[in-house]
Amino acid sequence: MTMADLEAIVARVKSALASAPGATNHRAHPAPPDDAVIGDRRAELASRFARELEAVGGRAIGPVAPAEVGPRLVSIVRERGVKSVAAGAGVECDLPALAANLEAEGVAVYRSAPVSTESRAEVRARVAKADAGLAEADYAIASTGTLVVLSEPARPSSLTLLPPVSIVVLQVGRIRPDLAAALAETGPQALQHRMTLITGPSRTADIEKRIVMGVHGPKSLDVILVWPDE
């Protein structure tokens, strides 16, 4: 960009503001919520999250113990008739190991990993062809039933976007009460190149305001909540 263009606009804005001054009031950041408090409220937050997720057309499974995640995954895959799964790395949980278990069930597993320029199109095509994407959420929001997903080379955003079935693992300790708390948690610094808030399966109401699921993204969203062994 030529700086002159920006300067021209800024100069116009400045003189416009000078002609009629506005309110002045920049505030401080809200304090992030106390982790101890969240710890005590895990059960309450998990049940609120589950309720809200179901209200937007998703499905909540659990909370289950970490050892139960594998069997639950197998039953989801069977129920949805999934023949192939694309998976990336997890956040806390070992997703590649869980995916490997699915192979024993006769499901083809594609492990997405960091790519090179040459392999990008090919990797994307494979993720797009998979029946299901398996991912783990970084955070979740109880009041809206929302998953917060950061993208990283080992955990591409495509996994929760391209396959028609989306399966997401969520640790209950990562559920925050509301949007403000979740944003305070990720914070300006932790913001990766892409952060996506996902509230239910992809949907549209463009035809006579009637809700239809699965327009461009997943048609179904299953979230397995994990309660840690203590």
Binding site: L6, P114, S158, S202
Partner: protein
């Protein structure tokens, strides 16, 4: 395709909209359903009023510091690896994007719903340069197939029934006729999925841009904004300069109100926070991110202390759904990408002269002000624009009409000093009108009053009781 807005006679277009009973049925149907969703989510959420007040406050703050915030946002975006282009006019923005598409050898462009790109007339320009442009929001895809502009900023195909869309898909896509929304949506999904994976450039609008972090926020339900901003190698975000907000923590207040007022959702399905291009070994995300920051009349709105408030708008579309005029005539009659109450305010500034009549297309009932999530006093702004339009620097728009009205007013003032004359003339007038009346209503008045009865009946003046309202009115 060239679905652009042509300047035209608003009054003529609104009459044909009003006369279209089928259109009105569809609008009532869709906007009624929207209002039901809305009431439900608001009732469930007690801090709504607090969030609304806070959103308003942040907007006042942000617009009051717009100069600093634009500089901060630009710096942060560039630090994140985005390229920022500041466009003073629609033509500059258009030329930049067309130039970028040419330079990169792009053939296919996918677009998320963006009224700002409608404002700058981007699609016709890209098509003239030989590019294929595909709208990917389902509603936009539908109106693009019909080669017409959107009629609502949130629900572009609100003027169409599922049967209309079924026939359209049958004719244009060769699909077997069906009016089932599920099957129509599945057809669009299959076609657009292919488009996303093969596109060279993705273009979307921006709902909010966070100055503190250099983050672009794109809010949507379908996933097409997410697709457009992750799949193609080049991503172009087009934003008006008023979209900037100071901090990341401000975002939650806006998202809490936007989903609720726009579609009656607590949060829309996808909220994309984009801060720069992908990293080297990353699967998703564009190689290049271009941000076009558009002035195009916004700084002029800022300079007018009354109009400034219109820059607080977060484009939720709720004022369209509650507006009796919009619900009567539909979005196309406004001849602007921004229809409805808010459109009547911003269009004269952003779209231009051809829309200068719009502020007069309102009953000033105030439903828009009541529902606005950032509490914009739309009726006040409409009156302000009417005043500017009729007594502006260039003189009144209708000099003869204005002079005539003033002279008439003066004559009546003189007459009114003699109440008995007024009474007598009133009675004489009523008597003269009697032959034209039937059942107490006059369907057609003689000139020069004919304009009144062109659209509505006139009650026969009576000395005592007014006529009962008719059953069909």
């Amino acid at each position: 395709m060239a679905a652009s807005f042509k300047a035209g006679d608003f009054f003529e277009a609104s009459e044909s909209g009003a006369a279209d009973h089928e259109l009105r049925r569809k609008l009532e149907n869709a906007s009624g359903r929207h209002l039901e969703h809305l009431a439900r989510t608001k009732a469930e959420f007690s801090p709504y009023e607090d969030e609304r007040a806070e959103s308003r406050r942040i907007k006042e703050d942000a617009i009051g510091h717009l100069d600093e915030l634009i500089v901060e946002l630009t710096r942060k975006l560039e630090e994140r690896g985005c390229r920022v282009f500041a466009a003073s006019t629609a033509a500059e923005a258009r030329d930049y994007i067309v130039g970028l598409a040419r330079k990169s050898g792009a053939k296919r462009i996918v677009k998320g719903k963006s009224m700002t790109t409608e404002e700058i007339g981007l699609n016709p320009a890209l098509e003239a340069a030989g590019m294929e442009v595909i709208e990917t929001d389902l509603g936009e895809y539908i109106v693009q197939l019909r080669r017409e502009p959107p009629s609502h900023i949130i629900t572009p195909a609100i003027h169409l029934s599922k049967e209309d869309i079924g026939r359209l898909f049958h004719e244009k896509l060769g699909m077997t006729y069906t009016a089932e929304p599920e099957r129509l949506t599945a057809e669009a999904r299959a076609r657009l999925r292919e488009a996303f994976l093969g596109a060279d450039i993705g273009i979307t609008g921006v709902n909010f841009a966070v100055a503190e972090t250099g983050t672009l926020v794109v809010v949507e339900n379908e996933g097409n904004g997410r697709m457009s901003s992750t799949m193609p190698d080049i991503f172009v975000a087009v934003m008006g300069i008023e979209k900037v907000i100071p901090r990341l923590s401000d975002l939650s207040h806006f998202l809490e109100v936007l989903g609720r007022t726009a579609t009656g959702q607590k949060l829309t399905t996808y909220t994309n926070l984009i801060s720069g291009p992908r990293r080297e070994d990353e699967l998703d995300g564009p190689r290049e991110v271009h941000v076009v920051m558009l002035d195009n009349g916004r700084s002029a709105m800022l300079a007018d202390p009354v109009m400034r408030e219109a820059l607080y708008c977060i484009r939720c579309g709720a004022c369209l759904n509650v507006c009796p005029v919009y619900r009567h005539i539909g979005g196309h009659a406004y001849r602007s990408p921004y229809p409805g109450p808010i459109g009547s305010i911003v269009s004269p500034n952003l779209v231009g002269e051809s829309t200068s009549m719009l502020p007069f297309a309102s009953t000033l009932c105030g439903a828009c002000k009541e529902i606005c999530p950032v509490k914009i006093d739309i009726p006040r702004l409409l009156l302000h624009l009417r005043w500017k339009e009729s007594s502006g620097a260039n003189g009144p728009r209708w000099p003869r009409g204005a002079a005539g009205a003033r002279a008439g007013g003066r004559r009546f003032a003189r007459l009114a000093r003699y109440p008995w004359v007024v009474r007598m003339l009133g009675r004489a007038g009523a008597m003269m009108l009697r032959p034209f009346a039937r059942d107490g209503w006059i369907r057609k008045m003689p000139p020069p009053f004919g304009n009144w009865t062109r659209l509505r009946d006139f009650p026969l003046p009576r000395p005592k009781a007014a006529p009962k309202p008719r059953e069909d009115s």
